[in-house]
């Protein structure tokens, strides 16, 4: 019982309730969750420590898995007749494959922590350089995809919720459902068949290029780069916009039927103001977390897209490294991606605690 509320029975109880209600409405979210909330500090310190531990466990599991591939990397040498057993032993020693796995793991972890990810077995170049070479390509592809996805999904999601059960809503939700059920690589193949094989441009060449980042033998031009981006970006956008759109539609529908939206309408606000200022602000919170959870994909790229369209990004780098059992490269990409996933879920928790004042910390 609050000490500053008027006490007593009977007649005062109504006043009591009214006073309490007014008080609740008067409290602004910021007052309930100040930025330097000690609970929040403790919570996030604990979460960060947990995350570091999780990453360590993941590194052990993945290292154990990758290094116990039988034959694996050495099979490229054992199959060659001109290699004597002494040669093979020398190669094993050179790559440090003779130590037991826990010892190799400890060595690997120490050099990882010092920022040295080793060298690729196949190209002999430092893993960092290999990744740095490919990273801009993946960031370009995925960044563009993210922008296009939001440009498509946000308006469609809002419209679909506002015009629920109209023909527009039915078409949009059906398309989104199809997009979520589509095997991405097959969709890519279809796009190539239609736009890079069947349809021809004015000069008799295929309408759009179906592979690579640039036309061989031609100087760099922005238009050429854009033409090469159209197919992979639209393939990625269709699939991920489907998910975002369905998400936003359902959270928009949740919010639209809330009391405060009805209040805003009852006050006589214009419909646009109700939707975009009152409803969307709350409906977009789940979408923001979804975007944060998708951030690791900016690095990991789209393996299928990059493989099908021969886009020289991280996903394709990983795929070829796995084919050649190139442990250092495979491990480095796996670990960076795991760290990003863990980081993004930390970010989501943080976003939720700051964006949604209703959240309670336990």
């Amino acid at each position: 019982m609050c000490p500053f509320l008027p006490q007593g029975g009977g007649g005062t109880r109504i006043l009591h309730v009214k006073y309490f209600q007014r008080r609740v409405f008067a409290i602004r979210p910021q007052e309930r969750l100040p930025p330097a909330n000690p609970l929040m500090l403790i919570y996030f310190t604990r979460r960060i420590l947990q995350s570091v531990f999780t990453l360590l466990v993941i590194s052990m599991i993945l290292y154990g898995l990758i290094s116990s591939v039988p034959g694996g990397f050495m099979s490229a040498y054992t199959e060659r007749a001109d290699f004597t057993p002494e040669d093979l032993a020398r190669i094993r020693a050179k790559f440090g494959l003779d130590d037991p796995i826990p010892v190799r793991y400890a060595k690997w972890l120490v050099s990882m922590l010092q920022g040295d990810m080793g060298s690729s077995f196949t190209t002999k170049r430092p893993v960092m350089e290999e990744i740095a070479d490919r990273l801009p390509n993946t960031l370009l592809l995925m960044g563009l995809m993210m922008v296009c996805t939001l440009l498509v999904a946000i308006p469609l999601g809002i419209l679909s919720a506002v015009k629920q059960y109209t023909w527009f809503d039915h078409i949009a939700t059906t398309a989104a459902f199809a997009g979520q059920s589509l095997p991405v690589f097959w969709f890519g193949l279809l796009l190539i068949i239609v736009f890079a094989v069947t349809l021809k441009g004015g000069d008799g060449r295929p309408l759009l290029p179906g592979s690579g980042m640039y036309t061989l033998g031609e100087p760099f031009s922005l238009w050429d780069r854009i033409r090469h981006l159209i197919l992979p970006v639209s393939m990625l956008t269709f699939v991920s916009a489907a998910e975002y759109m369905r998400y936003l539609r359902s959270s928009m529908l949740d919010v639209i039927h809330e009391d405060y939206v009805r209040t805003a309408r009852a006050k006589g606000l214009r419909e646009n103001l109700v939707i975009y200022k009152h409803a969307l602000r709350n409906a977009i919170i789940p979408l923001v977390t979804l975007i944060a959870l998708d951030l690791p994909a900016l690095f990991g790229g789209a393996l299928f897209t990059e493989t099908i369209f021969a886009w020289p990004g991280i996903g394709r780098l990983y795929f070829t490294a796995a084919l050649k059992t190139d442990y250092p490269l495979v491990m480095a990409i796996l670990m960076i991606e795991s760290a990003l996933i863990i980081g993004s879920s930390l970010l989501v928790d943080f976003l939720y605690a700051t964006l949604d004042p209703r959240i309670r910390l336990s």
Binding site: L55, V69, F177, P183, F304
Partner: protein
């Protein structure tokens, strides 16, 4: 209306039957789910009865009739070795659907056991299992699936036939149980404190009795829904992995690996790339609609939001 005015059957399972009827009536209102269920059933039938449906053998090569476009003799044309595509799609479906079913079963068994145990016992068991779930969720799934595929390709087990679908199903199942575990744990936590569970415990019911007779029947519907959606996911995962060459190995056909070398044949024989993928798309969208309808029928709270 007719269903409501009809007299209830006077058997002892009258209550159960009307409950089933209640779910059924809600389910058939969902038109797309009904279509999805029918299409799924049809494809399963076609695939199971493949020898009766297709006059051709999926493995017989006919090098004189390579890359035939679809015709009356070969409904989906022939591939690079002159094999009948329709037969391969049917027999490939057997593998693809088996992988999906098997992987889904593993994921659901693992997920519901872990979720039940974590939610029911709580304490350090719960924290340990949930940390484990979190760890598995933080693993980059596709990358690790590929790494596991690389591992399995070199693995040579005497009891496994070449092109067996068992290893790949186990790997997919072992990496897809986390969602179910979280779902089941949350429901178990809620049910654990309910009166009917407390009553069983007060009457001296064992943990096993409470878990399987009291809690499990009450979380069956979310499990059914996540199993349905998990089946669709597992089929997609298998096809993706096999497409990349890390799943079921050729010449055993699956919908995924039939697509894997079609990219070089695109200019001469585009149909080889169209049909296997179309089958994946149709069955996955059908199963997803089925799952959607089941969720609406079994979980009224979710249906109200739509």
């Amino acid at each position: 209306m007719a269903a409501i005015s009809a007299p209830l059957p006077e058997t002892k399972s009258a209550r159960e039957q009307s409950l089933f009827l209640f779910f059924w009536l809600r389910f058939i209102k969902h038109r797309m789910a009904l279509i999805g269920g029918t299409v799924t059933l049809l494809i399963v039938l076609l695939v199971v009865l493949a020898p009766l449906v297709s006059p051709h053998d999926p493995m017989t090569q006919d090098l004189l009739h390579r890359f035939q476009p679809p015709s009356a003799a070969h409904w989906m044309g022939t591939d690079d070795l002159g094999r009948d595509m329709f037969a391969r799609v049917l027999y490939g479906g057997r593998i693809s659907l088996s992988v999906g079913l098997f992987a889904m079963t593993i994921a659901i068994l693992l997920g519901s056991t872990i979720g039940l145990v974590a939610g029911y016992y709580g304490g350090w068991v719960d924290s340990l299992l949930m940390r484990m779930t979190e760890t598995f969720m933080s693993i980059p799934r596709l990358f690790v699936l590929i790494a596991m595929g690389m591992f399995l390709r070199t693995l040579d087990l005497p009891f496994l036939q070449a092109g067996s679908f068992l290893p790949i199903s186990i790997v997919i199942g072992a990496l897809s149980w986390m969602g179910t575990a979280r779902l089941v744990r949350a429901s178990t936590l809620e049910l654990r404190e309910r009166e009917f569970v407390l009553a069983t415990r007060a009457l001296g019911g064992s943990d096993a009795r409470i878990l399987f007779r009291r809690i499990f029947p009450n979380i069956a519907s979310p499990i059914i829904v996540s199993a349905t959606l998990g089946l669709a996911g597992a089929i997609i995962s298998e096809s993706g992995l096999s497409y990349l060459g890390f799943g079921v190995q050729l010449p055993t056909p699956t919908w995924g690996n039939m697509l894997s070398n079609t990219q070089s044949q695109m200019t001469t024989a585009p149909w080889t790339a169209v049909f296997p993928g179309l089958m994946i798309f149709i069955i996955v969208i059908a199963i997803n609609y089925l799952g959607d309808g089941l969720r609406d029928a079994l979980d009224p709270r979710h249906a109200m939001k739509k």
